[in-house]
């Protein structure tokens, strides 16, 4: 006769040995949030004044709109690049992959210098585009250019991973069913990579709005939120910069949470019939 199972938790399935070291990282993030949040929440007057400050509101607007614009540009250019990388075994593929990763490994100041030299009024891109009326130095397009440059690997790598997970066989079958290469991409590949595209966009947006060094080297003005925090830190002290930082954290957390809730089912297919 089989003995009855002993009451209590089944041994050997606990993740405690993984949670303990992992929680060190989570703990550091929580502490970092607290050292910003506690002093701000103890002085709500400064928080209210900061939230109503037109300079702060403008900086938020510039930052978020520039971030969305940068993600839009990445979606239009990075998506085809990611697909091409996911579907080629050419020997030069690793060269392109390395180039895509360069903004990831460079110090932000070096990325800023590159963006500045490229897009300044005498730069190889800034010069011709300037003649078309697009100015980058100390202008909104400069902020977007810096944000796009530093976010390229975050978007392209995430989306390439997504395309790589779409079986080529599905595309092949779609072709035999009469779909051209383009229609196959739009009707089959793109929907199946939705989750990774959204994740790549979120990563790229987060990276873009957080950029400081690269942005200020091409466009100190109009102020983005990271520049404003630094400016207030050097001129108004910790309290003023803390309040702006708290607002940024709060907004980002809400945005990220809403994004995750809205996209929870994106790219997940099962029986909903």
């Amino acid at each position: 006769m089989t003995p009855a199972a002993a009451p209590g938790r089944f041994k050997g399935r606990s993740l405690i040995a993984f949670w303990i070291p992992g929680m060190v990282l989570v703990g550091i993030i929580v502490l970092a949030l607290l050292v910003i949040a506690i002093p701000v929440l103890q002085n709500l007057e400064i928080l209210a004044a900061t939230a109503a400050d037109p300079v702060v509101l403008h900086a938020f607007l510039v930052t978020f709109v520039a971030g969305f614009t940068a993600v839009g540009i990445l979606a239009l250019t990075g998506t085809p690049l990611a697909y091409a990388l996911s579907r080629t075994d050419a020997p030069w593929k690793s060269v392109v992959e390395t180039l895509v990763d360069i903004p990831l490994v460079l110090p932000h100041t070096v990325a800023g210098l590159m963006v500045y030299l490229l897009f300044m009024s005498q730069g190889p891109l800034g010069g011709p585009l300037g003649e078309l009326g697009l100015t980058f130095e100390d202008a909104f397009p400069g902020i977007v250019a810096a944000m796009v440059f530093v976010s390229i690997p975050y978007y392209v790598n995430a989306v390439r991973e997504g395309f790589g997970r779409v079986p080529v066989q599905l595309e092949n079958v779609a072709r035999t069913l009469g779909a051209s290469k383009g229609r196959t991409f739009i009707s089959v590949t793109l929907p199946l990579a939705t989750r990774h595209i959204l994740y790549g966009a979120l990563l790229a947006w987060g990276r873009a709005i957080g950029e400081f060094a690269a942005v200020i080297m091409i466009a100190y003005f109009p102020l983005v939120i990271s520049s404003l925090i630094y400016y207030r830190f050097t001129t108004g002290g910790i309290a003023e910069s803390q309040a702006i930082a708290f607002l940024l954290i709060l907004l980002c957390m809400v945005l990220f949470f809403v994004f995750r809730v809205l996209t929870r089912r994106a790219g997940v297919y099962d029986d909903r019939g």
């Binding site: 066989q169 092949n172 779609a174 035999t176 069913l177 009469g178 009707s187 099962d270 029986d271």
Partner: protein, 362 residues
């Protein structure tokens, strides 16, 4: 029909070399070969997924060698059926019709007809993730037939199914083919599928087409060692023909000799192919089987099978022998038993070794 003429393709280190064959209109052809033979690559090249390095592909009398897949009128189903996971069953079946720009109303009617034909109307709103293997296969076939292809290419469509489902699916596909007169080229590893479905069998290995013909012909008279293995010859031995004293030739295999019904040429090397079920096993020479090949040996392994047992016998040369439970002596054979194997010369099939292309299979 499909006509493939001198088709070649190179993918990495793998080559398909000058493949030539034809699948007559309305017929069913099964393409066989060991893993890595290039069967799927051949199907994919015919479908237009990869550009050939040479040769032509003709579908329904039209040269489609340079056409993209969407222009070839070829239906395709992979082993895993490759249903679009983001579309419902209805969405999958209507995909080809949408791509063809068929108006919504007409599309709906056609899809309903296909769903009814394949008995999957009740699954119309479900996603592929919630379907069984057999259901997936019906959806894949309905989807492929929606665009009215001239030919259908199937890559091991029954391999992932359980035994019962597989049997019913094979019957369904056979009925479908007979009803529609569709030309089908299917990849398979299973001989029973070839016997049940195929008008023609093609066997290939290492990118080369080795043999073609009716299933019964190919499986009874293999012309290549690989074909012999696929045809179910469990014993493929190598030997040399030598003159016997009575004016005939016999075959020298290791320390033993064997007589075959066909007339081997003196000095020639042969692959000697014998089915495990064609060998009779006794404890001692009885003489009742008459003249033939008597090989003394010892049982070294016994494995139970559906019909009895499969024995490995070591003697002058090793033999695999199937013993039916109805014909086995009582008590049955056990490891270490001394036995005598009897082989009818008519059951010994010879394949000349020099006929092997490149000889690398030896």
């Amino acid at each position: 029909m499909i006509a493939v003429e001198g088709l070649g393709i190179t993918r990495g280190a793998f080559n398909l070399s000058a493949i030539t064959f034809a699948v007559p209109a309305g017929s069913y052809t099964i393409l066989m070969g060991p893993s890595g033979a290039g069967k799927t690559l051949l199907l994919e090249t015919i479908a237009g997924f990869y550009p050939p390095s040479g040769g032509t592909v003709t579908v329904g009398g039209v040269d489609v060698t340079l056409d993209p897949p969407e222009k070839r009128r070829i239906g395709f189903a992979y082993q895993d059926y490759s249903l679009f996971p983001h579309l419902t069953v209805e969405g999958n079946v209507s995909f080809g019709l949408r791509m063809a720009g068929v108006p919504s109303r007409q599309r709906g009617e056609t899809v309903q007809g296909l769903l009814a034909r394949f008995n999957i109307l009740s699954l119309a709103g479900r996603y592929p993730g919630a379907l069984s293997g057999g259901e997936k296969q019906r959806v894949a076939l309905a989807r492929a037939l929606g665009t009215r292809p001239v030919v259908l290419l199937l890559d091991e469509p029954f391999a992932a199914l359980d035994s019962d489902t597989r049997s019913s699916c094979i019957q369904e596909v056979k009925t479908l083919q007979q009803e529609t007169g569709l030309t089908i080229l299917q990849v398979s590893h299973a001989r029973d599928e070839a016997y049940l479905l195929a008008d023609q069998v093609l066997v290939m290995d290492k990118g080369v087409l080795l043999q073609s013909g009716r299933p019964s012909e190919v499986f009874s008279r293999p012309a290549h060692r690989t074909v012999a293995s696929i045809a179910g010859f469990e014993n493929v031995l190598e030997g040399t023909a030598e003159a016997a004293g009575d004016g005939t030739n016999h075959l020298i295999i290791g320390q033993g000799t064997l007589v075959a019904d066909s007339a081997p040429k003196t000095g020639e090397k042969y692959f000697i192919c014998i089915r495990a079920g064609d060998i009779a096993l006794t404890r001692e020479k009885t003489g009742k089987e008459g003249a033939g090949n008597w090989i003394d040996g010892q049982v070294v392994s016994v494995i139970a099978t559906d019909l009895g047992s499969r024995l490995r016998v070591e003697g002058a040369f090793p033999l695999t022998v199937d013993v039916s439970r109805h014909l086995a002596p009582v008590p049955g054979f056990r490891n270490g038993d001394r036995v005598v194997a009897w082989i009818d010369p008519r059951d010994v099939h010879l394949i000349p070794v020099p006929a092997l292309p490149g000889g690398e299979d030896r």
